[in-house]
């Protein structure tokens, strides 16, 4: 049975402080009912999702926004581990890339990410992209409770 529309629990995995701030503001401008959890590296991302270490008591989010270039465990590794774990593989992962060129690498590695967002040059476009996430969430990402 589908759960009622609730608050979108998002895990943002990003190490650039500026990008984190811009993402927080973009979510506010996009007017999405959400809770944004932020971690700064791949190790913390996995700890959060497994509710261990510093993140005891945390639950896997509804969706993960994953930067690829991360300290400790990088984004590709986080994605691989998520997709090979029964508990985490169904969580939609939106990969954030910095530049168009990186698509070549992504495609060739076949990461099984659910979608890619190229961090846009233009601020307005970034807000629109985040607004699009709301549509994605409402139409595709919701699963049965």
């Amino acid at each position: 049975m589908q759960e009622k529309k609730g608050v979108l629990e998002i895990l943002l995995v990003e190490d650039n402080e500026g990008d984190i701030e811009l993402t927080l503001v973009a979510f506010e401008e996009a007017n999405i009912d959400h809770t944004l959890h932020v971690v700064n590296d791949g190790e913390q991302a996995l700890d959060f999702m497994y509710g261990r270490g510093l993140f005891q008591g945390c639950h896997p989010p509804h969706v993960v926004l994953l930067d690829l270039n991360l300290p400790k465990i990088n984004g590709k590794e986080v994605l691989k581990r998520m997709k090979s774990d029964e508990k985490l593989r169904s969580i939609p992962v939106i990969v954030l890339t910095s530049s168009y060129a990186e698509r070549d690498i992504l495609e060739s590695y076949n990461l099984e990410a659910d979608c890619y967002i190229v961090k846009p040059v233009d601020w307005q476009k970034f807000v629109e992209t985040i607004k699009g996430l709301n549509v994605y969430w409402d139409t595709i990402a919701r699963g049965p409770s």
Partner: protein, 240 residues
Amino acid sequence: MINEREAQLLEELKHLRKDFKDFCYRVSHDLQGSLRNIGGFVSLIEGHPTISFDDKSKRYLAFVREGAEKAQTLITGLTEYSVLLTDNRKLSTISLEEPFNLAMEDIGPLLRQRRGFVQTKFCPVEIFGDTDLLRKAFAYILNNAILYTRVAPHIDVTFERKNATYLISISDNGIGIPHDYHEKVFEPFERLHPAEYFSGIGLGLAIVKRIISIHRGRIWVEDNEVGYGTTIRMVLPLRA
């Protein structure tokens, strides 16, 4: 048959190619991160509900933001060009139709926006090449033909078989390229017009030339017989 020294050099070359490519992506990624922050936060300041700016401040902020955006475009282009310098991908037999049709899709929105049209005289052929690279090359040339014009763009594309090669000609009705610059336009950063008239960072044709070189082809510019506009001609070999 290659000797041990040659094998060693080949191995070094392979590593160098990979290291260079990784370096380019790394530098590009880090620079893009900083530029994104500059552009993004300036936009936030510009649109801030409670801070007000006089006209001069607004102008200065716009310069900062546009500078950051331009730098981002430049870095993307540079990365693309740099990576092509060491590209050693294997070419294969492909239909020329595919990259051309894909390029036409890529430029479709801009063409419609500028109320232009493209007339094509096509004869299907298989050549030795790479679909992605040729798509990029065609898209760049078509894009230029659409942008560098003061009227609605009319573009003629013809494909002709000439012995063991294939000649592709793309003619436009645009502002033309002065004869003295027919070779220089293919060099990186050669821009012929002030930024306020026609935007462009001057890398597109350098990238196209690099792609045609990878295909062991040739590319050159000709003036149109009618007296205005430009024709870009490319010759590609049909087989390896």
